[in-house]
Amino acid sequence: MQSAKRGDWVQVHNILLEAGKRAPQVPEDTQQVPLEMWVKGFLLDHSTEIGQEAQINTVTGRIVTGKLVEIMPTYPHNFGEPQPELLTLGIELRRLLKGESR
């Protein structure tokens, strides 16, 4: 099991509201799932394994306790895959602008 040591940059997770205990105005599908929260910070405990409870110090200096879910968390988003529906659009529009047929 991967473990983090004191001072590591980590992400913790918490359940804020359990399923079924959500605000009355939320739709049924949301009512059936919990309200979850993630936050990142520097680990305050000496050694913590993924899945264990951990205490962190956030960049604003808040102390937050939660389940350790990631060590050195990365950003998963990217530029996606090329989209066939858009790939030729630029070429076609330039042609159209020059008065050439498509």
Binding site: L16, L17, K21, R22, A23, Q25, V26, P27, D29, T30, Q32, V33, P34, L35, E36, M37, W38, V39, K40, G41, T58, V59, T60, G61, R62, Y75, P76, H77, N78, F79, G80, E81, P82, Q83, E85, L86, L89, G90, L93, R94, L96, L97
Partner: protein
């Protein structure tokens, strides 16, 4: 002493928490049963236009270029009748420090928080406003926490929002990320209470007045560069601040005849608080899921009185489909050399269709662009849509069904706007107001307030309210 932090207990403390965290006594503006003195609040609390220009200048906000989109104008004229096809200009708001017009709102809020001595600022936002607040906080040397609604229950995050969270962290902010649900407000209140930070709400007079410089600036620029003010300005409409602030700025610059047109991406049919629907959309802002509820009842915001009152300013409100915005985003990049958006290009997609109806000597200004990046990009957003079971195809965008498909137009002429009946929106607004009136009565002051708030005659309001069973209380 440990406070009771259950949902009910925190919501119960809402008023006192918010009052401390924005430093505004909203009650002093109350008039009648539900009305309030809007102009009194704006002039009494916010800064005037010259002060705001100076505050924004200090942190490099504003003074963005006004660019003529010559190739897009030429393209749209190919599909226009003879003598039609207005010139399109765009205010390149991506040139602001955090890459969007939201820097204007954040600049005023953060300046004010700093002036009052708050050690930090908090904002609840999944949009560009987060990065804007984080960037301004970095410049003013105050702490910043951004609370985002980002994930569904599978832990799948909207790419556009993931990028906005990354940007916040780049500017040194703490980012708290939540799953779908309006209870974000509950955690937001707890954070305000715990930290004693300022609520840099999008909807305070500071947050709204900050946008006035945008309308003011674009009016001055068109006047200086073209010798006249714009015939129409198209504004992407979500929470109402962009429309309200821009229109107020235009009025302050003397543009009484400029048409203010709101544009939203059509996401009708998708429930904004639904865990299932959350990742079925490709646009997380600038859409009808915010545009309509905030127009029909602005005071659903995180402050008691929302300073964004779009029905006061909208001359026209239109929608476009997701596919049309992706199309125009691609066109803007490949024909004009500007890689921007996509969400901020909602108004550009609408403008492209609206300019076709206007005369060729007329001027239409699209008042914003936003930065683009990983996640915030047509390819990223369409890849994500496909993974969530959305069909992507080329065709007629009129056949789009939000949450089912995204249709990229095959020709530029297929970009069309759909009109939203503003009178119907105003009736919904009055219906929402009626629900808040005890004993089915209102005072004449309320009638006047409602008339101002939906830019209608008091007689019309009185008549409509009567149909809803509300009468004016006679003394």
């Amino acid at each position: 002493m440990n406070k009771d932090n259950s949902y009910e207990a925190v919501m119960e403390r809402k008023q006192e928490i918010v009052k401390r965290a924005v430093g505004i006594d909203y009650e002093q503006f109350n008039r009648g049963i539900l009305g309030f003195d809007y102009e009194g609040m704006m002039s009494g609390v916010a800064y005037d236009i010259q002060e705001m220009i100076e505050i924004q200048r200090q942190t490099g906000v504003g003074n963005t270029p006004l660019l003529e989109l010559r190739n897009l104008t030429a393209l749209l004229r190919k599909g226009a009748k003879k003598g039609k096809g207005a010139r399109i200009f765009v205010k390149d708001e991506a040139a602001n420090p955090s890459g969007s017009f939201k820097a204007r709102r954040a600049a005023i809020s953060v300046y004010h928080a700093h002036k009052l001595g708050f050690p930090g600022v908090i904002a609840a936002t999944s949009g560009n406003y987060g990065a804007a607040v984080a960037s301004q906080a970095a410049m003013r040397g105050v702490q910043c926490i951004i609370v985002q609604e980002l994930y569904d229950s599978r832990g799948l995050g909207q790419p556009e929002i993931l990028e906005k969270g990354r940007a916040c962290e780049a500017y040194g902010a703490e980012v708290v990320q939540l799953t779908v649900g309006p209870e974000l407000f509950y955690y937001f209140l707890m954070l305000l209470e715990q930290t004693g930070y300022f609520n840099a709400s999008l909807y305070t007079p500071f947050g709204i007045a900050g946008v006035e410089t945008l309308g003011y600036e674009l009016a001055k620029q068109t006047l200086k560069e073209l010798g006249r003010t714009p015939d129409a300005v198209v504004v992407t409409h979500a929470g109402g601040g962009n429309v309200t602030g821009t229109a107020r700025g235009l009025l302050k610059a003397g543009c009484k005849d400029t048409q203010v047109i709101g544009a939203s991406v059509d996401l009708q049919g998708l429930h904004m608080a639904s865990d299932r629907d959350f990742n079925k959309k490709s646009f997380t802002t600038g859409h009808t899921g915010f545009g309509l509820p905030f127009a029909t009842w602005p005071d659903r915001a995180d402050v008691p009185r929302n300073a964004a009152r779009p029905l006061r300013y909208l001359d026209r409100y239109v929608t476009v489909s997701q596919g049309e915005v992706f199309f125009i985003t691609e066109a803007l990049a490949t024909l004009e050399g500007l890689e921007r958006g996509p969400a901020g290009n909602t108004s550009l997609a609408a403008a492209f269709a609206i300019a076709r109806e206007m005369d060729e000597d007329q001027i239409l200004v699209v008042q914003e662009t936003e930065y683009t990046g990983a996640g915030k990009h047509p390819n990223a957003q369409l890849s994500f849509a496909r993974k969530n079971g959305i069909e992507i195809k080329q065709g007629n965008p009129r056949e789009s069904v939000p949450g089912k498909n995204i249709i990229i137009p095959t020709t530029p002429d297929q970009i069309q706007v759909q009109e939203v009946d503003l009178e119907r929106v105003k009736r919904s607004y009055l219906k929402n107001a009626a629900h808040l009136l005890p004993n089915n009565e209102m005072e004449y002051t309320d009638c006047l307030f409602l008339a101002e708030d939906c830019r209608a005659k008091p007689e019309w309001v009185e008549q409509e309210m009567k149909l809803l069973g509300i009468t004016i209380k006679r003394r």
